[in-house]
C-alpha cells in the first residue's frame, strides 16, 4: 500500500528542471534508496515532500490525503521527517539535548517554560533509549559540536528518528565519512529503522551501500525517474550503469 505518492510533481529553477513531472511512490515499510548523479533532482524532491520548497505544480499525497500546500509543522505532525545532507545539529547543545528537543517538540512540550527540561523523566528515558539505539550512550554530555564526523552523522539521524516519523528521509547519511564508518553507520541506521518499522527513503551515492541495504532503488536523472526496481533489477539495468559509471557495472 502506498504511504506517499507524488503526482506529476514539478519544480523549476530558472532553466533547470529539478523535478520534471515526478510520480514517486513510497510503500509502507520499505527501505528505499534514491540514487542519481549530482543535480539529478534527488534533494529537490525531498525538499518538496518535506515542505522545504513549494512545487510549481503537481500533487503530494500522504495516505491518500493531499498535503501539497501544508506547512512544515503539519507534515512533521503527519509523520514526514527528514535529515539534511550537510550535518545540521544544535552544536551548542549537548548530544542529549539535541535528541531530547525532538521529543519535547513531538509531544508539544517545547513551549513549557516553568519546568526544568532535565526533570522530565519520561523524555529523559526515551532520549537515553534512542541514543542507545544509535550507539551514542557514552557521548550524552558532550556538546554536539565536539563529536567526530561519523558520530555527528548518527546523531543527525537520531534527532530525526526521535520524532517517531512514519516516513523518514535521510539525505546522504554517510557522506563525508570513511568507507569503514559508512558500513557501521548504515548498519546502525537500517537496523534501527527496520526495528522501529519506519518507512525510510535514503539518498545515497555509494552504490555498494545502496545495493546492500535497499529493498528498492529509484534512480533519478535530470529531474525524472530513469529506473525503479529491486537491487537485482537495477544492477542489470544498462542505462543505470552507463549513467552512474560511464561503463557497465562489474557484478
Amino acid at each position: 500500500m502506498p504511504l506517499l505518492k507524488t503526482v506529476n510533481l514539478r519544480k523549476q529553477f530558472g532553466e533547470t528542471r529539478a523535478c520534471d513531472g515526478v510520480n514517486f511512490v513510497v510503500n509502507k515499510g520499505e527501505f528505499l534508496s534514491l540514487v542519481g548523479s549530482n543535480g539529478a533532482g534527488k534533494t529537490t524532491l525531498v525538499n518538496l515532500i518535506s515542505a522545504h520548497l513549494q512545487p510549481d505544480s503537481g500533487q503530494i499525497l500522504f495516505e491518500d490525503r493531499d498535503i501539497t500546500f501544508t506547512t512544515v509543522t503539519d507534515r512533521i505532525k503527519a509523520g514526514i521527517v527528514r535529515s539534511f545532507q550537510i550535518v545540521n545539529l544544535f552544536d551548542g547543545l549537548s548530544v542529549f539535548d539535541n535528541v531530547a528537543l525532538s521529543i519535547f517538540s513531538r509531544d508539544g512540550k517545547a513551549v513549557q517554560m516553568a519546568a526544568l527540561a532535565d526533570h522530565d523523566y519520561d523524555v529523559r528515558r526515551e532520549t537515553i533509549e534512542v541514543l542507545g539505539e544509535f550507539g551514542l550512550t557514552n557521548k550524552i554530555e558532550v556538546p554536539a559540536g565536539g563529536l567526530a564526523q561519523g558520530e555527528r552523522k548518527l546523531l543527525d539521524v537520531a534527532v530525526a528518528y526521535a520524532l517517531r516519523p512514519r516516513l523518514l528521509f535521510l539525505d546522504e547519511p554517510t557522506s563525508g565519512v570513511s568507507t569503514h564508518e559508512k558500513a557501521q553507520i548504515m548498519d546502525t541506521v537500517s537496523s534501527v529503522v527496520r526495528r522501529g518499522m519506519v518507512t525510510a527513503v535514503v539518498i545515497e551515492h555509494d552504490m555498494d551501500v545502496v545495493f546492500r541495504y535497499s529493498d528498492r532503488i529509484v534512480m533519478m536523472h535530470e529531474g525524472s525517474f530513469l529506473a525503479d526496481g529491486t537491487p537485482d533489477e537495477i544492477r542489470a539495468n544498462k542505462d543505470v550503469a552507463s549513467i552512474l559509471l560511464g561503463a557497465p557495472l562489474a557484478s
Binding site: F84, G92, L93, L101
Partner: protein, 315 residues
C-alpha cells in the same frame, strides 16, 4: 552561590549608604542585562532597543505617581509589569519578523520612536525635564520614609527590596533557560533550519523570548526610578540600549551569570569613569575595545576558561 548571597545580605552592615545605593543600581542593571541576554545569548538576537522597555517601566511608574493615587512600590510594579509586557509583545511581534542586523535596526528604530515621543509629549512626560518620583512606601505601606533619617532608611530598605526581587528574577530566568522552552531557543539560535524541521514554530518562540526579555528589562526600569528619584528621556535614548549591550558583553553573554556580573561591574565602571574624567565615554570605549580584543567571552567566560586551565594544569 550561597556565599555571594550571604555577602549581599550582610553588605549594609559594613559599607556606607553611598555604596549600598551603588550596589542597588548594579542589581537593577543586572536584572536589565539578564532580560536582554535571553535574546542575545539564548535566542541569538541582538536587540539595540532595550532602552525602550527600561524607559517605559520607569515612565509608567512616574505616570502612576503623577496621575493615580497610592505611593506604593507594589502598586507601581503591579501596574508597570503589564505595561512593559504589552509593549514588549507589540514591538516584539514586529521585530521578530526579521533576524540579524535587520532585527537590530528594527529594535533601534522603535526605541528611538519611543524616545522622540517622550521628548515631544511634554504635557505627559515632562519633556526633557522628565518626571520626578518621590520615595514610595514599601511592603503595602508598612515601611514609610519620611522624617529626618528617611533617606538612609529608604536606601537600606530599598536595597533589600531590590535584592529580593533580583533573586526571584535570577531564579525565574534560570528556570526559563533550563526549561524545554529555553532549550528550544538555544536550538533556534544554533540552527534555525533544523529547528523548523523538528516542528518548532520559530517565530512564535522568538516572540515569546522577546516578550520575556523586554518584561525583565522593563521591571529593571520600574525598580530604577524610585532610586533615581527622576526619569528623563535619557533612559530611552539609544546610548542607554548600548549600555545594556555593553553590560552583557562585559560579563559574557554566553554564560548565565555573565550579564549579572556585567551589569554590576558596568555600574561601577561608569560611576567611577564619570567621576574621574569628563571624557568618560572615551574611557568606556577603550574598555569595550580591549574587552572585545582580549576577553571576547567576557569576565565570566574568561574566568571559567582560566579555571578550566588551572584544573587541567593541576591534574
Amino acid at each position: 552561590m550561597a556565599p555571594v548571597l550571604l555577602l549581599l545580605i550582610l553588605l549594609p552592615t559594613f559599607v556606607e549608604t553611598y555604596q549600598i545605593q551603588l550596589v542597588t543600581y548594579g542589581l537593577i542593571a543586572a536584572i536589565a542585562a539578564l532580560g536582554f541576554n535571553l535574546l542575545l545569548g539564548y535566542t541569538g538576537l541582538l536587540s539595540f532597543g532595550h532602552s525602550a522597555y527600561f524607559g517605559l517601566g520607569a515612565y509608567t511608574v512616574a505616570f502612576v505617581v503623577q496621575r493615580l493615587g497610592p505611593h506604593s512600590m507594589e502598586f507601581y510594579i503591579l501596574i508597570g509589569i503589564p505595561v512593559v509586557a504589552i509593549a514588549s509583545a507589540l514591538f516584539g511581534y514586529v521585530c521578530v519578523r526579521h533576524t540579524r542586523i535587520f532585527f537590530g535596526i528594527l529594535t533601534l528604530a522603535i526605541s528611538q520612536v519611543v524616545y522622540s515621543l517622550a521628548l515631544k509629549l511634554y504635557w505627559v512626560t515632562g519633556g526633557s525635564d522628565g518626571l520626578r518620583v518621590p520615595r514610595p512606601a514599601l511592603l503595602l505601606g508598612l515601611l514609610n520614609f519620611s522624617g529626618p533619617r528617611g533617606f538612609q532608611q529608604f536606601i537600606t530598605s530599598y536595597y533589600y527590596y531590590v535584592l529580593a526581587i533580583f533573586v526571584v528574577c535570577v531564579v525565574l530566568m534560570w528556570v526559563v533557560v533550563h526549561s524545554p522552552f529555553g532549550k528550544a531557543l538555544q536550538a533556534i539560535r544554533d540552527n534555525e533550519v533544523r529547528a523548523r524541521f523538528l516542528g518548532l514554530r520559530i517565530r512564535r518562540f522568538r516572540w515569546i523570548s522577546f516578550l520575556v526579555s523586554g518584561t525583565f528589562t522593563g521591571l529593571a526600569g520600574i525598580l530604577w526610578v524610585p532610586l533615581n528619584g527622576l526619569t528623563t528621556p535619557d533612559v530611552l535614548y539609544w546610548t542607554f540600549s548600548g549600555e545594556i549591550v555593553f553590560s552583557a558583553l562585559l560579563g559574557g553573554f554566553r554564560n548565565f551569570t555573565g550579564p549579572i556580573v556585567g551589569g554590576i561591574v558596568f555600574t561601577y565602571l561608569k560611576t567611577y569613569a564619570v567621576a574621574t574624567t569628563e571624557y568618560w565615554q572615551l574611557l568606556l570605549g577603550v574598555v569595550l575595545v580591549t574587552l572585545v580584543l582580549v576577553l571576547p567571552t567576557g569576565i565570566v567566560g574568561g574566568l571559567s576558561t582560566l579555571g578550566l586551565r588551572l584544573r587541567k594544569g593541576r591534574s
